[in-house]
């Protein structure tokens, strides 16, 4: 009898070990899903409440390896009623996907303005992983999203262009071009996103100026416009120079 029970247990153990490797996956799946949920909720907050974008770019003598582009974004809000759905986990890539949804009637946005949302449904898809080696595509996607926000800020608020040019005998000797922008954005919607074959990410974003104007209850510059931008993000830095080790 004992032998039979032991055999049954052994068979069950082998079956579980062979056919359900996920049982031994530890907390990777949970961590990836949690990261995806947080990413989805952050995206929703940036969309509904808004975010602040500060960006600067600089290029010297038109040389691509001298280009420095930096964009910071910031948001902080307390939102309630966010629902998470469509949670999917890919164990091969260790990447999770989650969708955050929210319905609201009214909100005070990042500029302190009362916005009438009238039951509008907002949705944002987020991604997450537990392993840094698999984070490349997700980082590129976030970079593309921030690039799209920067482009929207440049179009909505305008930006400062600075130039320092030295000329000798009517010929350009040195050149420095800088751009700077700082703005608050809200109600920008992502219409499409993805990756190309090389792994670079794109995010298409739309800002309906009339819709924003109607929600704010006041006129906004650029009435009648639907501003559409496409942000881009790369996984690898082609201009990153290998570190040189000094020999003593």
């Amino acid at each position: 009898m004992i032998s039979r029970c032991f055999k049954t247990f052994l068979v069950l153990f082998v079956c579980v070990t062979l056919f359900a490797p996920g049982v031994w996956a530890g907390n990777k799946k949970m961590m990836a899903i949690m990261a995806a949920k947080n990413d989805a909720m952050r995206g929703l907050t940036e969309q509904v409440y808004g975010l602040k974008v500060r960006s600067s770019e600089e290029v010297k003598n038109m040389a691509a390896d001298s280009y420095v582009g930096k964009t910071d974004s910031k948001t902080s809000a307390t939102l309630s009623g966010i629902k998470i759905s469509d949670v999917v986990y890919d164990p091969q890539k260790d990447i999770a996907k989650a969708t955050a949804t929210m319905t609201a009637n009214e909100i005070v946005n990042i500029d302190g303005a009362n916005v009438a949302l009238n039951g509008k449904v907002f949705k944002h898809v987020g991604f997450g992983t537990s392993s840094p080696e698999n984070a490349g595509p997700l980082k590129a996607l976030r970079a593309a999203q921030i690039d799209a926000y920067k482009q929207l800020a440049q179009q909505v608020a305008g930006f400062t262009l600075e130039s320092q040019t030295t000329i000798e005998n009517y010929m350009l000797k040195s050149d420095l071009i800088q751009t700077k922008v700082q703005a608050s954005l809200a109600m920008a919607e992502i219409t499409n996103y993805g990756w190309d074959q090389g792994g670079d990410a794109f995010v298409k974003m739309v800002l309906n100026v009339d819709a924003v104007s109607a929600m704010l209850g006041e006129a906004v510059v650029g009435a009648g416009e639907v501003i559409e931008v496409e942000g881009q993000g790369a996984q690898e830095d082609d201009f990153k120079k290998p570190k040189t080790v000094k020999k003593r």
Partner: protein
């Protein structure tokens, strides 16, 4: 994508420089502009221009150089600490 962005920045810079009159032949130009877009059209409003022209060295084949042996002292040159040897003794 970096190359595309650099091209965009260069195009904007060229448009801005076009609005600046009296560019020096030799010198440095610092300019600042506010760039805004309305209905897809880009407006560049230049609000600050600093232009420094480099002065050319006039050279007429060395004619402006003084011969060292027959150079008369400049007024006040001796007062600048130079001493004249006393040969009366």
């Amino acid at each position: 994508m970096v190359d595309e962005r650099i091209q965009e920045m260069d195009d904007l810079n060229k448009q801005m420089v076009k609005q600046i009159s009296g560019l020096p032949r030799d010198g440095k130009v610092d300019a600042k502009a506010k760039v805004s877009s309305e209905s897809g059209k880009i407006n560049i409003e230049v609000y600050q221009v600093k232009s420094v022209t480099k002065e050319a060295n006039l050279d007429f084949g060395g004619g402006n150089k003084k011969p060292e042996n027959c150079a008369a002292p400049e007024p006040g040159e001796l007062k600048k600490g130079k001493t004249v040897p006393d040969v009366s003794k």
